[in-house]
Symmetry: C2
Subunit: 129 residues, 2 copies
DNA sequence: TTGCAACGCGTACGGCTGTACGCGTAGAAT
DNA sequence: ATTCTACGCGTACAGCCGTACGCGTTGCAA
């Protein structure tokens, strides 16, 4: 297994945009940040550099513009991050977090039916194993 | 709203035990840590001190033993932490995280039926509002 | 009554994080 | 040619984090 340092909060915000937009320049990433979360251009630059040095991104120069893209799949990073949170805050149990999401954050009708489908599918698969 | 600094990862592990065991001494907290996550007694002590200075815990002296208890409800802290994660890593959307939990981490039969009940209840409530 | 073990408390320290400035340069505009 | 502008890159720096040592003290054992 590749030993990567974990992402910091700020790096997470940036890597998410990177997954969405890559390959992308610093400027493109910077502009794609949520409107309510403006950070300095140079800060984004630093985060991207750190993402690269931690092994989460790679980059090439296109002329004088540096183009970044992701080097780890979103799924992997999300798994590591969520697993870590579940371990620390929920003693490794998934259900309390699930419960919290549903009860505290709520879900709309569309989410509801999607969830039902997911559960059905899971039950079928579980049965045949 | 009370402006509390966010919890670090290490503090989270300790505050979770605190919710479970409080009021408790440093030693009790230390011993209640998961077996696979031993940290130094003094480290736990530092975390508790920091939890107190951040406003997450309070303490009194019982003789020469300092007894800690929680000052914020688990729900509040969990809400803040989960909201923060969802914002940073999932652009504020709950469903992708939900999907991840179900598909990647899996849930057992008991969880499955509990989830169904939750969904039913939610649907009923949603309908009457 | 003399140690010893347990504890609180102060302190430490290197690494990480958030945030950004400023220099030097290359391409665009005048 | 000269100036402006955008960009990469190095650097900075205070505060937070993980982790822990060691001193002084006190209650209990010998």
């Amino acid at each position: 297994m590749v030993e990567r340092p974990m992402l910091s909060k700020g790096e997470m915000e940036v890597v998410r945009i990177l997954w969405e937009k890559a390959p992308a320049s610093v400027r493109q990433i910077h502009e794609a940040l949520p409107a309510d979360r403006q950070m300095d251009f140079a800060t984004v630059q630093t985060y991207l550099r750190r993402l690269e040095s931690k092994g989460y991104a790679k980059s090439t120069l296109d002329g004088r513009i540096r183009i970044y893209s992701a080097r780890t799949k979103a799924l992997t990073v999300i798994r590591e991050t969520v697993d870590d949170l579940v371990n620390r805050l929920f003693a490794g149990e998934t259900m309390p977090l699930m419960r919290h999401l549903i009860e505290d954050r709520g879900i709309d009708g569309k989410g509801l039916s999607e969830l039902r489908e997911l559960l059905d599918r899971l039950e079928k698969e579980g049965a045949k194993k």
